[in-house]
Symmetry: C2
Subunit: 360 residues, 2 copies
Amino acid sequence: MSYKNYPMVSRVVFGRGSFNQLGDIIAPKRLNTTAPFIFLVDDVFKGNPLITSRLSLAYNDKLIFVSAKEEPKTSQVDEMVEQIILNHKDRPSGIIGIGGGTVMDLAKAVAILLTNEGEAKDYQGWDIVKNPAIYHVGIPTISGTGAEVSRTTILTGPERKLGINSDFTPFDQVILDPELTVGVPKDQWFYTGMDCFVHCIESLNGTYLNAFSQSYGEKALELCKEIFLEDTLSDEDAQDKLMMASWHGGMSIAYSQVGVAHAMSYGLGYLLGIKHGIGNCIVFEHLDAYYPEGVAMYKAMRKKHNILIPQGICSNLGDDEFDIMIDVALSLEPLWENAIGENWKDIITREKLKALYQKM
Amino acid sequence: MSYKNYPMVSRVVFGRGSFNQLGDIIAPKRLNTTAPFIFLVDDVFKGNPLITSRLSLAYNDKLIFVSAKEEPKTSQVDEMVEQIILNHKDRPSGIIGIGGGTVMDLAKAVAILLTNEGEAKDYQGWDIVKNPAIYHVGIPTISGTGAEVSRTTILTGPERKLGINSDFTPFDQVILDPELTVGVPKDQWFYTGMDCFVHCIESLNGTYLNAFSQSYGEKALELCKEIFLEDTLSDEDAQDKLMMASWHGGMSIAYSQVGVAHAMSYGLGYLLGIKHGIGNCIVFEHLDAYYPEGVAMYKAMRKKHNILIPQGICSNLGDDEFDIMIDVALSLEPLWENAIGENWKDIITREKLKALYQKM
């Protein structure tokens, strides 16, 4: 048996206000005056001084606002890379992604595609990337996805929704500043937080579990319970702790795997463009057969915070459409093997998945 | 306020038997046939096939057995570096440290001194190292020190016991194989495990605490309680979990600081050559004024496992000797500031420390 040799984030800063250190941190990474830093920033921060007034752009540095309304696409990565190449004589000094999972995944993918030929879709899968990415920095502004710490970047391509999993994917630098999460709307806070919660449940209940993943997953789960089920934390402490829960939850799946909820959520994302966080919630509502305790806990959290989960999103779909979602979900073999075991193909049938999707 | 930008271990493998992957992992790091890998191995493994039969030395690779009976010294680092330079035409491809904290710290220091001029003592302190170290790998064979994950290497120099703290200190690769810890004698298992426990207590009760360190420290503490106070774990699970406790405990102090026990233990180490793990225990017995809950828990653990702690080690010391230990302890200002607060100099007097040392 061979174990993963996991590539870690190279450097990490944690602290309220640590975003102010960004300029000092990246300055030594500037290759020359014509090699810009490209800042990819979630467009919810357009006109919001929390981020923009604190970025110091020099020389040919470029700020690009990115919409996170939709899940990130391989075509979007290709366009960004093309624009960067066309607009700048030199290869950038670095890519700085400031936002949620969508923006961080785009930053990782762009950094990879700037040094690897072809299109983003060519690299969806495991260990296809050949060349090291350019320097890339991840700065989460919402907590839960674990994108800040993982070796993947999940993209919707023409044929599938799948990550670029590679040793060159993880960030060279992460800045964890919980203050950046203050303005997150409550429903979004919940959906993205549940991504972390689901990571823990899927990792802790998976057949790939090991003491490494277990220790991270248990801590992240404990933090989620404290944040989403108890009333003991100040707002600041809850922000700090959710940022750490996301980090530990990410490390937990990094060294194991996700499971049923993620596989099925990818189906929803691919066909219907459902965002990952809310998609996980939609699916998780119906997974009591697979994760009974986790689903009960999730429902208690959802009720406590009065969060509405869309219903009936699959009610008008035809058989062809169910087939597409089922194909996407079933193609993610490691997720099923982790969730169910080596014999998962005997247990997980297309009919079962269709029946589940029909409830959503 | 400025926050630490912490350099992480670049890659980590975890798993029982993962030591078998060492050859495959380092092979691509070989610079050329005359640039050897140097294996520093704890000499308890002399003649023990657990390690030696599984190392495949090629070309000019060299296996050096290292005694961990004494704490690592700057002079020892200098001698090793000199021997390596004299015996090999080319700079090594890498240093692989296989052992406990002593061997891992030596491996880190040798890797640094091979690319930085002068003597090891010149680099004791914070951020003095100028050049990146050569590739270095850490493989713990006993759990607790956190040396596998930290940015320091604690050395006894001619003037002080102090770490080489630098961004170039952390390992490029760590292999966490709990099977390597099977033969550890019980008392040593306890002393080194208590290093982790004390890291948690000092970090969680320190003024430098933050949500990052807290989450790691709490998890490591929880694992320590499970391992040392409960009877629910199999031997294998206890080995796995103690290895993870060491890792998380190391990350907890990495992003905060240790405290009273470490400061005073360094005094014992410097003057009397007391090894760090047992030194922490000797000191911790008497720190109920500073860490009341932690000391009570420690004593319950020590009793449960019938561990004897040396007593009276300071009973024959003269005033000059107490002064030396007190000087070493007080020189570690960040540790006191973390433990007591900014006004620590008003509270921690030489008399108090002497009275404590006299009890040991």
